[in-house]
Amino acid sequence: MKRLRKCNRRQFLKGLSTFATLSVAPRLSFAKAKTIRFGVTPAFLHDRHSVLEKWRLYLTQHIGQEVEFIRRDSYRETMDMIRLNQLDFAWICDYPYLRLQNIVKLLTVPLYRGRPAYRSYLVVKKTDNVTEGYLDLKGKVFAYADPYSNTGYLSPRYEIKKLGYQPRDFFKKTFFTRSHRKVIEAVAIGLADAGAVDSYIWDSLESVEPELTGKTRIVWQSEDHGFPPIVAHRKNVNETAFFKMQKVLLDMPSTLEGQEILTLLGLDGFSVQELSLYDSVAEMMRSFGEGTAR
């Protein structure tokens, strides 16, 4: 772990020097070019700042334009910024994507374990040997991730509804932690009896922070849903910029540096997908009477 961190630092310094050369020569020619504003949400471990910085430098270097990550702690804030034309690109959850379809365009979908898919995990405390599914959680305290999260809100509610209950009355108390990581924490500490989390985040945390995930147990998994996509703002991003970004992302696995960043992010690469990838999400939304913007 320590060696990995050292290696990261070396990589980081390497990236920095690359960036320095870039900022002297090519950046001058793009001097007037505006900074690319890239929104990130708790759809992944957005609080791992060193990884994000590496990725930012990588993107800046390969696009030849300054990239800035705009971090927000709730999906809602990032969504608002997209609505207000304040972002060029964003990595958002699939559920908000469907709601913002008319503003954003699907750019790439990350490949997680080789596929552009992930699931919702129902987690309980490790010491809870009784709970086997949502039915056992009636009248308990439940932690949701974010009201605009698929795996952390939409999917569990859909499951409860499928079981024949109104999600609103099913639990004694529910609360949002605004991040998947904190859902795991809330369950591990015992503040909530159970919680719904992103499989990608739980799995990533298991390798980064096994002592935290070790305090929880996955009792149920949802079916596969389309992975949170990277989207481009329809208005702010022209075609050239769209494809440039798409290409840089798609090419990441083919560069050593890109490969390393992908490993740190727990991803295999990026892919171009159709909207139909999110049909399961759209189905769940429809069940709650929510339309997907077209």
Binding site: V141, A143, K172, K173, F176, A186
Partner: protein, 489 residues
Amino acid sequence: MIHRIFDLSLQQKIPLWGAILILFSTLSVSGVLMYRAYVDLKDALITSSVGLGQTLSNTLAPPLLRDDTWRAFEIIRAPFLNEARNTVIRPDTILVVSPENKVVVSSRPEAFPLLDELDQFKSDFAPFSTPDVVFSIREPRIFETNEPGFIYVALPIEDGDLFMGVLILRHPKQVLLESFQKTATGGALFGFIVLAILLPINWYWGQRMAVPLITLARHMKNMGSAPPETLESGLYSYNDEMGQMFEAYNAMVETLKEKAILEKEMVASERLAAMGRLTAGIAHEVNNPLAGMLTALDTIKRRGGLDERTQKTMGLLERGLVQIRETVGALLVEARPSKRWIEAGDFEDIHTLVQHTLKTKQVDFQLETDIPGQLPYPAGAIRQVSLNLIQNAIEAASHASNGWVHACACKTSDGFSIKVTNNGNPIPVDRFEHLFEPFVSYQNGGHGLGLWVTYQLVSQLNGHIDVRNEQDTVEFCVLLPYPKDKLNS
């Protein structure tokens, strides 16, 4: 029992009382300080807890208003994140309670789960078992329980005039006590060090006080049975009240000794005076019939016609009677009023008289006189007294190698003094008492009447005779006051 303690010797009592006082004061001072330390610690805890609580309650209002349980939890969990922080001041549990007495959020959600009624945790939150109490908390309040021991700091969480609940910070007294115990242990250790220094000093001081007093007490106790003794010097060398007391004791012993000597002298002189009167009386009584008998014998002898045998018997009787008269006469000392007064020439005569003896005994003699003209003392008596003393001195000095005698007859401011000193053997102390009695002689060939006669003569002249052993010398000193009837002339 208590009386027995008071009866103890000062040697034990002074250190004992000192030790009791030292222990009492050390214990009481440290007790008060420790109590103060505990109260201060508790006050610091409450002050800090109220400060923390106020910050938390202000921060908690917005998330509670939004029903953001997770944010509220993050806020109350914050004080526990830093392990290194002072655990004494840190509460063990922080709880937010709704006005309905339900747990809104707690720092230990497993022990106190969300929405549980607070009265379920009676032993943990005893003071808040009824909603009335929670509802009444509109300013920071402190609650305390003893079994189990907890201190609770309760603060309202309000947004404007909306009362959203109560924030409770619970502190176990055990942590407070443990922290206090550390302080107390340090204090006790210091106390022991102080005692370890003070108690030996107290013991030493007690001994210093007690030993001289005990010695004094022993001396005073023995005073009845034995002659008093002065305290050895250096027993207590300071001039405080105790030192003054020892000095006064020594002065008293000296006075007593002098008094005892004086008493002895008085008894001796009383006895000598009584003897003088007795012998004088006897002598007078004997002298009258004796004179009659001698006259009768003389008459018979003058008549004649006695046969030879009777004459022989008469002669025997007469000689016997004459011897009796002489002996009685010697006892009957009388300083007859002299026809003339003493003058320097009388001592020159004495010098001449003893020349022969001096030569025989090979004793050096010096005579010193200071008699201007005549002095109103009977020359006969003074001559006899001086001669007796000088002859005795020559006899005593003759036994010493290079024997010498020194005599001094001088007029003094209030009378006349005769001092005779010799370097003969000192007179044994046990002889002093009977030295001036008749028929007491310590010299070969003496009849024991010389000093008796001297004493009687001096007494009749209202004088005083004194004898003392000086270093290697013996001195006889006669002091004669100026005769009263001559004072005016």
